[in-house]
Structure formats: C-alpha cells, structure tokens
Amino acid sequence: MLRAMARAVAERGYEDVSVADVVEAAGVSRSTFYEEFASKEECLLAAYDALLERLVTQVFAAYETESRWPDQVRAGLEALLGALAEQPDVARMATVEIPAAGPEAHRRYREAIGRFVSFFLDGRKLSGRGERLPKETELMAVGGAEAIIFDEVVAGRAEGLRELLPDILFAVLVPYLGPDEAAKEMRRAAATG
C-alpha cells in the first residue's frame, strides 16, 4: 500500500489521489486500508517515513566509507542522488508532493532535511573560520543542494541527477571552504565520477 501510495501520488499529485486509487493499485480491500491507516494523509506520511529512513541510512553508510570531509560529503551526495535517480517517481513524491500535503507532511520534510545537517558540522571545524561562519550555514548548504535537486525533479529530469553531483558538491562545500577549494573538489568529483 505504501508503494502504491507513492506511485499514485507521484503520477497524479497528492490532491487528486483517492484512497480508492491506492487500494485498487495495491490489490487490497478498503477495509484493509482503514485497518492500517486512519486517512490518506496518514498513509502518505507512513510511506514518507519509510522512504526517509531508507535514504538517511544509505547516505550515512556512504558518508562513513570516506575519511576526508569533502570526500565524505561527496560519497553521501552520490548515495542520495543515486537513490533519487533510480526512482524518479519517489524523488518527485519526496520533494514536490509531500511538502504540499499539509502542515504535518511539511514538518516531516523539514525534519528530513534537518537530519542531513549533521553532515556539515565537521565542515565548520575544517573551515578554519568555525565561529565566524553564520549559525545558519548548515541550512544554507542544505538549501543550495535542495534547490538544484528540486529544479531537476520538477523539470522531469530526476534520472539525470547523478550528472549534477559536481555542481551540488560545490554548492554544499562553498560556504565552508570558499570558491577555490570548493571548485577544486568539484573538479575532482567530475574527474572520478
């Protein structure tokens, strides 16, 4: 049912999906649906939580495979972009549909984004300017990556997200390392990717 929900929402948008669509696609009865979920929104949120858990686990695991901070960020982004590119409908659900589904859904979206913030705390140490960097720098790094990913997903190009890894890496690193270092890391990623 969670998968059916994700697919239906990705295809038609949250507002136009009914519980009937979901039960039909999942091949279950309406009463089975309501045994599990109180409402359409609850089903969507459950689908979202499951998706997030998987994504965050993958990204954390990839991050741990490297030791240099810029490499860790690159590996984490690679895992994230790979997962989104493999399932464009899920990518659309996660970035476009969920935030539109009401305050609770939006809160989880922000929370999910917030979970990536911890990756960047090491960047602050590494920057040599730790204290002077604005306290919102983590939101800035995440927001830069989010904007590029969002635009691509909206344009229907989620499949090609991996190609944007160097640009996204630059966006995330630049507040911490400055343009020269961030561009150097970007070129390294482009050469090895």
């Binding site: 939101l139 927001g143 343009p179 561009a183 150097k184």
Partner: protein, 228 residues
C-alpha cells in the same frame, strides 16, 4: 496586515467585479477592501492548514462574508491562492528592484535587495509562510511562478560572477545554489515560527549569496557589516 492590503489596492486587473445593484450594493472601495481581506484570510488559513486543507468556506467565514460573495471575487480556491501569492510576489519584486540603481556597486544592490525582501516577509509572516512553505508545490501554476521568480533572482546574482577574484571556474548553477542557500535559511526561520525576526538573518543570507563569487573573507566582511 498592511502588505496584502497595499498590493490589493493596485491589483485591479484580477477577476474583480463590482456587484450589480447600484446604490444597494457596497461601493467599489468596500469591494476592494473585501478582496484584500479575502486574500489576507486565504494566507492565514493556508498558513495554519496547508493548501490542501484550506476550505473556501473558512476563508469566507473569517472575513464575515458568504461563500457566494467569495465567488464574486475569485473563480475558485486556487484563483484566490494565486492572487495572494502574486500580490506577495509583486511586493518582493518591488523590494528587490528598488534596491537597484545604475551607480551602485552590485554587492550593495544584493545587500539592499536581501534586506528589502526580508523586511517584507517579516512584516507579513502569514504571506511569508504561504510564499515559502505552501507555495511552490501547492499547484502547477504556483510552481511555475516560483520557478520563474528564482530564474530572475538567480540571473541578478549571477552578475556577481564578473566581480569574482577567484580564478576557479564556478559551476553554472552557482547562483541558483546561492539563492537556494538563502531560501533554505529563510524557510528554516519561517518553519520555526520566527518569520517576524527574519531581518536578523540578513548576515547569513548575504553571506550565502556572496560567498561563491567573492570568497569567504569578503563575504564574511560584508555579513559582519550588516550584523547587529
């Protein structure tokens, strides 16, 4: 909320109709006020319930008008929502463009534009909420408006490229990413219920906009100049 009212006074091109009935009905000024109040109510209901959970009946009830009267001003919920968004967007664009002048350094333009935008948002927290939280994904038309708005602001920011002291070739998405970073800061503050204090985020927003182009030291210097 001054903000929606001010814009709605100018916003006469929409599906605005003076009701028939001559002396019996409210005069044009009252109708214009009603429309402004409905836009305001739309923003506050959306901020509370999200766009999908917003009902026309509640929006009308908050203003104390009938649903029938709502439909004299707007075709449907989306029409009203987009009018509220467009009114807000018009105000933001005015804030950004009034920062521009030919004899002013681009860095100062970016600084004043960012300050103007934050002030507008801080003054109208509910509009800020629908603008930054509900807006871009609510409907396809809203999404289109968002995407075209970011293109305009990105290309303004991208002009900083010529001021860049760095030899490094910046990615083509540098300006869009910088704007996204600023959006991330603003959205984070709004989502945390601190929309009215957005002006305090000016140093961070400015740092994010400038750092890819001017480097960390100069971006920090500019941010520190506007802090406190």
């Amino acid at each position: 909320m001054m903000f929606v009212m001010a814009v709605s006074d100018r916003d006469m091109g929409g599906p605005f109709r003076v009701p028939a009935g001559g002396m019996e009905g409210p005069g044009p000024a009252v109708v214009r006020d009603r429309r402004g109040h409905l836009l305001e109510a739309m923003a506050s209901v959306c901020a509370e319930r999200g766009y999908p959970g917003t009902e026309v009946s509640e929006v009308a009830a908050r203003v104390g008008v009938s649903e029938a009267e709502f439909y004299e001003h707007f075709r449907d919920k989306e029409d009203c929502f987009l009018a509220a968004i467009n009114a807000g967007l018009a105000e933001l664009i005015t804030a950004a463009t009034s920062a521009y002048s030919a004899d002013k350094p681009l860095v100062a333009v970016v600084r004043d534009a960012a300050a103007g935008i934050l002030d507008v948002l801080a003054e109208a927290p509910e509009v800020a909420h629908i603008g930054f939280v509900d807006y871009r994904t609510a409907t396809p038309a809203a999404l289109e408006t968002y995407e075209s708005g970011t293109r305009v602001l990105s290309s303004l920011l991208d002009q900083l490229r010529v001021d860049s002291p760095s030899d490094a070739t910046l990615p083509s998405a540098a300006a869009r990413a910088a704007l996204g970073g600023a959006e991330g800061v603003i959205r984070g503050e709004i989502a945390a219920g601190r929309a009215t204090e957005l002006r305090e985020s000016l140093p961070a927003v400015l740092y994010g906009c400038l750092v890819p182009f001017l480097g960390q030291e100069e971006a920090l210097r500019q941010a520190e100049l506007v802090s406190g």
